[in-house]
Every structure is written in C-alpha cells, then in structure tokens.
C-alpha cells in the first residue's frame, strides 16, 4: 500500500497537479469572467512571474537587486519594436533604420528575444556591478533603471522619446501569461532544488564558507542575476502587449519596491511564498478599490500594504514561508 502510494506520487508531482488546477482556473476565467476580471488576473500572473524571477536573483543568492524595471524596459521595448507592424512603423517611427523597419516578428519569438537582450544586458552590467554588496548593489541597480530610462527618452529615432510607443496590439492573452508563469515557476523550482540552487542558498547564509568549499561564487551570482533579468525582459514584453502602450516611465523604481515587498512578505527564497504574496497583495489592492471610492479615501490600499509590511518586518522577519516551500509541494527526499 505504502509502496504503491510512493510510486504514484513520484509519477504525478504535486507541482503538476497545481499546474492543472491553474489551467482549469484559466479556462474558467477566460470563458466566463469579464474583461476587467481577466485583466486583473492577467496582471496578478504577471506580478507572480516578476516576483518569482526576482526571487531567483534576490531570494536564492541574497543579492539585493532593484533592477527588474530596467530589464522590463529593455525587454518591453525590444519586443514592441519587433512586433510592431511595418506600416505602423512607417507612420510612428519614420527614421528607423532599414534593417529594423522591415522586421515584423510574431509574438512568441519577439518576447523571447526581449528576454534574451535583457539577459545580455544583465550579463554585461552584472560583471562589474555584482562586486558590490547589499545596499550598494541596490543603489547601483536603481541607477540602472534611470540609465535605461534616459536612453529610452533620448533615442527618439527608435523609441519616440518620452511619448513612448502607443497603440500596440493587444496580444498578451491570459493563456500566454499563464504559459510563461508555468515556465518561470518550473525553471525557478528546478534551479532551487538543483546543486546550483543549493549552493546559491548556501551562499546567502555564508558566502565565505561557500567559496572556501570550492564554489564559484561570482559565476553563480551572475547566473542568478541573468536568469532573473531574462524573465523580467519577458514580462516587459508581456506587459507592453497587455496595456498596449509602453513609455520610458512605464517601469519605475516604485515597481521594484512593490516587488521587493512581495518577496519580503512571501519569504525571500520561497517560490510558493512569492506566488502567494504576489497574488494576495494584488487582490487586496483590487478589493480595496470599491472601498476607496465609497469613502473617497484614495490611497488606502497602499497605506494598508505598508502597514502589513511593517508588521511582517517587526514580527515575522522571515516572511510567510522563509526560504522553504509549502510542505505538500516539496519533493520527499
């Protein structure tokens, strides 16, 4: 009996069950619920992708990066430029160089390309920047957000400057977001429970000890940074084709802080924790809206989130789940 059970369990991992339940959920949302609810759920999934991918960088290795919005900006603009139909480019961006003006990619490869370019940027930036620790890295990555913003604003030939690219086609269906959410969680999960992930988690506890044991600490840091950036770039492309507009101000430092809040509340290092926190916080803000409107007290939701954050920081420093996962999701070793 016991044997059989174990056997079954190894055949159907709990994550697959979770994925299936999610799939049924998406079908229900897509078929029966309104455009507003669908877009709220889409953004919740997007935040989940962002939180989980930032967790790879910040949660696993203990780096403190606030650079996610910068990578979203890079990925978002690359994907938008590649997807924008040729005739619209002639109208919007008449000075675009020929090789780019004639590109018209379909959705999936363009999104992947956005992610890849963001990852390459992370690789180039990461090499010098990851020598910095703690809040110095945080400051440097905030700087990165502004550098990207200034570049986007001043290269009008490619980006239309501060006006941004508007009238993008709506392409990011809830199915696409769910697909990317599954990929992100899968990659993060596999990484966390691989030898790389274990070393990363060890690095967070004691970097010196880890390098003494022969781990290549710098390479691992860069790896975590680059993987996080890839998914941030992907989310940027998804975001742009969900809101149908992208400007240099779309991805601000406050977005980075929101993501860090999700990580802290969910537990840095915990994938299921950041999923719960991202979903919970986004839902809470959306729920409080009717209340805000009825009371005429706009901003109530944001205040409430800050209070929750304070309480978590004081009474439960490790967040909801610390760096562990929900029990029933964990593989029995």
């Amino acid at each position: 009996m016991r044997l059989k059970e174990l056997n079954l369990r190894s055949k159907i991992p709990p994550m697959a069950v979770l994925g299936l339940i999610g799939l049924i959920f998406v079908v229900i949302v897509d078929k029966f619920l309104s455009a507003y609810i669908t877009s709220v759920i889409s953004f919740i999934f997007l935040y989940m992708i962002l939180a989980v991918s930032l967790n790879i960088t910040n949660g696993f290795t203990g780096l403190f990066s606030l650079g996610h919005p910068a990578f979203m900006g890079v990925g978002g603009y690359i994907a938008s430029l590649l997807i924008l139909p040729v005739f619209r480019k002639e109208f919007f961006l008449p000075e675009l160089p020929q090789w780019l003006a004639t590109q018209q990619w379909s959705f999936f490869p363009a999104i992947v390309m956005g992610g890849l370019i963001a990852a390459i940027v992370a690789l180039i930036i990461g090499y010098p920047v990851l020598r910095l620790k703690d809040h110095y890295l945080g400051v440097a990555t905030i700087g990165l957000i502004f550098i990207v913003k200034v570049i986007l604003k001043n290269n009008e030939q490619y980006t239309r400057g501060a006006l941004g690219l508007n009238g993008l086609e709506f392409k990011t269906s809830i199915w696409w977001i769910y697909f990317w959410l599954v990929i992100t969680v899968y990659v993060a999960w596999k990484l966390k429970f691989s030898s790389y992930g274990r070393t990363m988690l060890g690095m967070k506890e004691n970097e010196m000890a880890c390098s003494c044991l022969g781990s290549n600490v710098t390479a691992l840091k860069i790896m975590a940074f680059v993987i996080g950036a890839f998914f941030a770039g992907v989310s940027g492309g998804l975001w742009a084709h969900l809101t149908t507009v992208i400007t240099p101000d779309s991805f601000s430092p406050s977005l980075a802080f929101n993501l860090v809040v999700m990580l802290v509340i969910g537990g840095t290092g915990s994938i299921s924790g950041s999923l719960i926190a991202a979903g919970g916080i986004s839902l809470l803000i959306e729920y409080l809206r009717p209340l805000e409107e009825a009371l005429g007290m706009y901003g109530l939701g944001q205040i409430l989130i800050s209070v929750v954050l304070l309480f978590v920081l004081i009474f439960r420093t490790r967040g909801l789940l610390g760096s562990s996962e929900l029990k029933f999701l964990q593989k029995e070793v």
């Binding site: 059970e5 079954l8 369990r9 159907i12 709990p14 069950v17 979770l18 339940i21 999610g22 959920f25 229900i28 949302v29 619920l33 309104s34 455009a35 507003y36 609810i37 877009s39 709220v40 759920i41 953004f43 604003k153 400057g161 501060a162 006006l163 941004g164 508007n166 009238g167 975001w239 969900l242 809101t243 149908t244 507009v245 400007t247 101000d249 779309s250 719960i276 979903g279 839902l283 959306e286 729920y287 809206r289 009717p290 805000e292 409107e293 005429g296 706009y298 901003g299 944001q302 929900l326 029933f328």
Partner: protein, 394 residues
Amino acid sequence: MLKLLKKARPVALVLILILLSTSILMAAGKAEDAKDKPIKLGGMYNLTGGFSSIDAPGLSGAKLKAKLINEAGGILGGRMIEVVGYDTQTDQQAAATQSKRAIDQGVVAGLGYGDTTYVMAAAPLYQSAGIPFVTSGATHPDLPKWVGDMFFMVPFGDDDQSYAIADFAWNTLGVRKVVIWTDDSMDFTLALSKFFKERFIELGGTIIHELFYQTGDTDFSAHIARLRDARDAEAVFVGSVPNEAGLTVKQIREAGIKIPIISADGYDTELVATVPGPALANDVYFSTHTYRSDDRPEVLNFIEEYIKEYKREPENAFAACGFDAVGLIADAIERAGTTEGKALQKALAETKNYQGVTGQIAYTRPSRVPVKPIAIIGVQGGKFEYLDTWWPEL
C-alpha cells in the same frame, strides 16, 4: 492518488476562494440599465502619485458639474449623473485595468487625465468598447488621430497655444530673435517648444540657441550665462511646467536680464508672481485657457460654486477642464436623447457652440482638436493682466 488530492486541498481551496471572490467583485459591478438609475461616467484620474496635483482638481471639477446638473433636475427627463472616480495611481497598468473595470460597470462615457501618457493607456480601451472618452486636460494635438473617432478633447492642442504666443511675440512685442529653454523630461513641454519653433521660424524669426533642463532643476545659472552671451536676444521662450515657472523668472530677472519671458499654460500659476516677488515679476507673457482673468458668467459661476463646494479656490485650470468635460458629455447626451455609444459619439462630434468655463468649444476641425480661443496674459509688477484673445485659423 486520493491522498495526493487531499494534500493539494489547500491550493484548491485558495483557488476556489479567488474564483468566488472575483465573481463577487464582478457581481458588485454589474451594469444597471434601469431608467431611474443614475447615468454613470467614468472619471479616470491619477488621484495618488506624481500627477495627483494636476488630476485631483480635475475630478473635483467633474464631480461639481455633475452635482450642479443634478440639482437642476438631471438630464434626459430627470435622470441623475454620477461621476465615479477611478484612481489610477499615476500608473499606466492601473489606467488600463481600471478602464476595463469602468467599462464593465456600465459607464456611458469616460473622461479624465491631464497627461497624454495615461490617456494612451486608457482611451484606446474605451475606443474598442465603442464608448466615447473625453480628455479633460491632455493637450497633444495628435491624440484624436492616435485613439480614434470615440475620442474628444476639452483643452486646445499644444500647437495652438504655442502658435498663439509666437504670434503675440512677433506681432505685438515685435520680437525677431529668441532663445529657447525646454524641459526635456516631459513630452508636453517638448511639444510646446517644438510648435513654438515651427511657428516662429515660419514667421521669419531666428532661434539663437536652445537649451534643455529637467523638471526638478533649481539652478539655471548656466542657462543664464548663455542667455547673457546672446546679446541680440529679444525674448526667451521657456517650455516649462508650473514647477519651474517661478524659479526661471526669478533667476533671469535677478541676473539683471530685462528681455520679455514668454511661455504657454505651464506658466499659468501664481508662482510666476509669488516666487520672484512683485518687483521682479515683470514682462512675462504667456498663452493659456481663457478662464483666468475672465469675467464671463460661466467662469464666475464656476469659481463661486467651487468655493461653496470645496471651501477653496479652484487649484488650477484642470479643475475647470474636468468641469467642462462633464458638461460636454451631458450636453451631448441631451442632444442625442440616449446614452448609447454611437449616437453619443455623433452628438459629441457635432458640438458647435458649447459655452464652457475654459472657453467656447467646437469640434469643427478635421483633426477634432477643439477650436477654442486662447488668452494671452501679461504679468507686470506681479499682477496678471489679460491682454489679448487669439483664435486658431480654420
């Protein structure tokens, strides 16, 4: 397998909870068609975040107009108007989701925003839902072209206000050579300077040089040194938002430079007089909504009602713009005799002589940027004085 399902129960529970709660969210916002229910308008504004000082007065103005209409008996034979304020937090993503929410809740028209960026996240959603959207404060003249036929503007376009002050500088002040300063962190100010240059060069004028700064800059000494070097400059045009309006005047005058300072509605703020003080606030000219220093009954009535409702003066012209946006929509609903999107769009497009607080509004140009008079205001000794009215050519 059973055990496994049991173990997955918390997850399933959470998902069911989410699903249930979303359906409650939706049920709460179901559209109402009953005749005695109020007509809902979606007031899309950034009530929190960086744009709140511009957008919050806009919503106050919009709500005030709705209240006045209701007190006068409503529209379509006694139906009330309700402006629902949606806070989009100076965030494009919130602008998009909240627009969908407003449409879901059955608003018959949207209005709002003092900036192009947020209009472009919200208005296209209204367009594709077949519901008209009237921006109360965004001024880019290409907006109607970008969004589509469901889109209307309350304010004049940036091109008009820049042309107005360029014409005034050329004709009345007799200026032939100018220096231009531009805030390059905003598309609004970039557009102002672009259209000013365009007109001024067309008239035959010369741009000596153009320098840039950013919102939040406080020291203009480098700009002033260049300005002093440009000895033949006869005026300086500052493409600015209200934030830097007072500082630029103060520092230019303190440096002993006496040439006229000209600008557009970014200068329409008390700061121009209060920051430099009455002794230095001289020879400043700007183009703006005809609402300031205007004694038309619409304006006086608006200011009086605003003070009565909110116990303070209207903060800026955006309050008046929000007021006019609701007025325009109500006027169009009355003429269309229905709140249905297509008919409403048609009625809005046929608006000819709407007497708004911010001036008369007509959508007779193919670009659907309203044909509105623009006021030229001069500042002497810290006092604002109405000088002239400029009309766009048709």
